[in-house]
């Protein structure tokens, strides 16, 4: 059972997956409550295009992909403010265009094939010390942003239309949110892969929501669920020999099934108690 811990790359991967799980779980609360579930999926695809461009221009992956992701997120927000374009359409257009650009560049140069698969499905073997530093930095920044901006983020998420009239700088909040979301997706790519990031962002907050009706408790529970899914998923991936991203998401999905079953039983018991009280 402890065999994988003898390998340094596994320990690095485990730490990375745990941090990424917590980070995605934390950001996911806002994404789900803002009803932007599709943005994680879209942004990860957009950033894939940025990653390829960074590689071609010999720019550091984290710098290039973060700038690309941030610009994509801001562009999505700007486009969706136009009444004639809904936010899901804006996400669809901008992110698929960016993803297609990445694919087009890759198809021009066949040497990208191996990195391409790792970026799509996650590769725990590729987690380096600098990846861990980047993940820790982004996690720290997001944690500080969430704590410092607590009341602004809560108001802007709950009632965007009205928040500005109560002194919430909504556009600034949205811009900072786009920035930290881009950072989250970029550092998650190595561990989870483009195709799995959306699930890591969405599943933990939804599981947390089944257990609590409090925003504050959800903000604590969701990162814990994400971190647990990350750690357990990576550990299991060693034994079942599947990609790290898929393993993490399957564990998170298992949590989701358990949470739904729990909520269903709880609701039935409450309904039965209500009927007994009425009788």
């Amino acid at each position: 059972m402890t065999e994988p811990f003898e390998f340094e790359f596994f320990v690095r991967g485990l730490i990375a997956a745990t941090m990424v799980g917590a980070l995605a779980g934390m950001m996911g609360v806002y994404i789900v409550l803002r009803r932007m579930s599709y943005i994680g999926h879209g942004l990860s695809h957009a950033i894939f295009g940025g990653a390829v461009v960074s590689f071609i221009m010999s720019i550091n992956f984290y710098v290039g992909a973060s700038i690309w992701g941030f610009l994509s997120a801001v562009l999505i927000q700007w486009t969706s403010r136009r009444r004639s374009i809904s936010s899901d359409a804006a996400i669809g257009i901008i992110t698929t265009a960016s993803f297609a650009l990445g694919i087009a560049l890759i198809s021009r140069a066949q040497t990208f094939t191996r990195s391409f698969e790792a970026a799509l499905f996650g590769n725990i073997l590729g987690v380096t010390g600098s990846d861990l530093v980047a993940i820790a930095l982004v996690t720290g920044v997001v944690l500080i942003a969430v704590i410092v901006g607590y009341k602004y983020l809560l108001f802007a998420t709950f009632d965007t239309e009205v928040a500005a009239s109560y002194g919430v700088p909504v556009r600034w909040v949205d811009t900072v949110f786009a920035l930290v979301l881009a950072g989250t997706v970029v550092v998650s790519m190595q561990v989870l892969g483009v195709t799995m990031i959306a699930a890591a962002l969405i599943v933990p907050p939804i599981v947390a929501r089944q257990f609590t009706g409090s925003f504050t408790r959800m903000m604590v529970l969701s990162p814990l669920i994400g971190a647990s899914a990350g750690a357990i998923g990576i550990y299991l991936s060693w034994f079942i020999d599947v990609s790290s991203g898929a393993s993490v998401v399957l564990v998170a999905s298992g949590f989701f099934v358990v949470s739904i079953a729990y909520a269903s039983v709880r609701d039935r018991l409450l309904a039965a108690r209500g009927r007994a009280g009425a009788a």
């Binding site: 409550l33 602004y152 109560y166 919430v168 409090s214 959800m218």
Partner: protein, 291 residues
């Protein structure tokens, strides 16, 4: 307190209101009446800086609201609220205190005490930890009124505060607003409840893209003003000193118009004190010319 001067406003380039000029004084308690799409909400949103302004300006104590964020308590229509959002009654009310200490990341003890006082004032003190979905319609309306009050506003703007609540709750809300008004808070609300406005509010503003009439219910709620506002024939009568606006039941049709002698094609109704059921049906029915 609030001066609206020649305001043209709307959204994304579409003008909803044009050439609106209006003054709200300290201690005013006024209602905006008009059909759906007449610009009531846009007037309120322009005052809080949430609508696009194409001409004119809104001044709060002489300063443009576009340059400053004055202390205005805004209660929006509640139909856009996500009632499944995991927030408690206290958390929603505390949101109103966001700008009290802008650099402090959490709500202060002082803000929590103030929120507690407001909840008690609104009769919600036992519900502070409840999730907002668990409340009745009237309680939900009061929670958002509480959020506005925690911001210690000098003026309250309410967008259809009595929509979707029963008649008792509607009266409770209007009495509560009246009390707040007597404590020195100016109130401007939009509504479709013509007769409730006539019974409770001292000032009525009829509009349809622009201001059509402004004054006391007795002065403003006349058939000609209502026809200009709603584009429909709406008989007006007096009952025990109150101005009442009637519906025209379909069953009256041409026969009723032939029989009527009120001058507006509607049967005389104002003197049928002995026939309460009939009176209610013909006169007291709410004028639901809007959505």
């Amino acid at each position: 307190m609030v001066q609206i001067r020649g305001l043209a406003a709307g959204y994304h380039g579409d003008r909803v209101i044009d050439d609106v000029s209006l003054g709200i004084m300290r201690n005013d308690f006024a209602a905006l009446l008009g059909p759906s799409g007449s610009g009531k909400t846009t007037v309120l949103r322009a005052i809080v800086g949430a609508a696009d302004v194409y001409a004119g300006d809104v001044l709060f104590k002489g300063e443009s609201v576009r340059k400053s964020r004055p202390r205005i308590g805004y209660v929006p229509q509640l139909e856009a609220i996500d009632w499944n959002f995991p927030v408690t009654v206290e958390q929603v009310v505390l949101m109103g205190a966001t700008r009290n200490a802008p650099l402090f990341p959490w709500f202060r003890r002082k803000d929590r005490l103030r929120a507690g006082q407001v909840l008690e004032r609104l009769g919600l003190d036992g519900l502070a930890s409840r999730q907002i979905r668990e409340l009745s319609g009237g309680q939900q309306q009061r929670v958002f009124l509480g959020r506005a009050l925690v911001s210690e506003p000098e003026i309250l703007l309410l967008d259809e505060p009595t929509a979707g609540v029963d008649i008792k709750t509607r009266d409770d809300i209007l009495h509560l607003l009246d009390e707040l008004n007597h404590q020195g808070i100016a109130i401007l609300m939009s509504t479709h409840e013509i007769n409730a406005v006539a019974a409770h509010l001292p000032r009525v503003i009829c509009m349809n893209g622009r201001i059509l009439a402004d004054g006391t219910p007795r002065d403003v709620l006349t058939p000609s003003v209502l026809e200009a506002t709603y584009g429909a024939n709406m008989p007006v009568t007096e009952y025990r000193g109150m101005t009442l606006v009637a519906e025209t039941p379909h069953r009256f049709g041409a026969a009723a118009r032939n029989r009527g002698s009120s001058g507006n094609g509607y049967p005389e109704t104002g003197h049928r004190h002995g026939d309460k059921g009939h009176l209610h049906e013909e006169v007291v029915g709410e004028a639901r010319a809007c959505d």
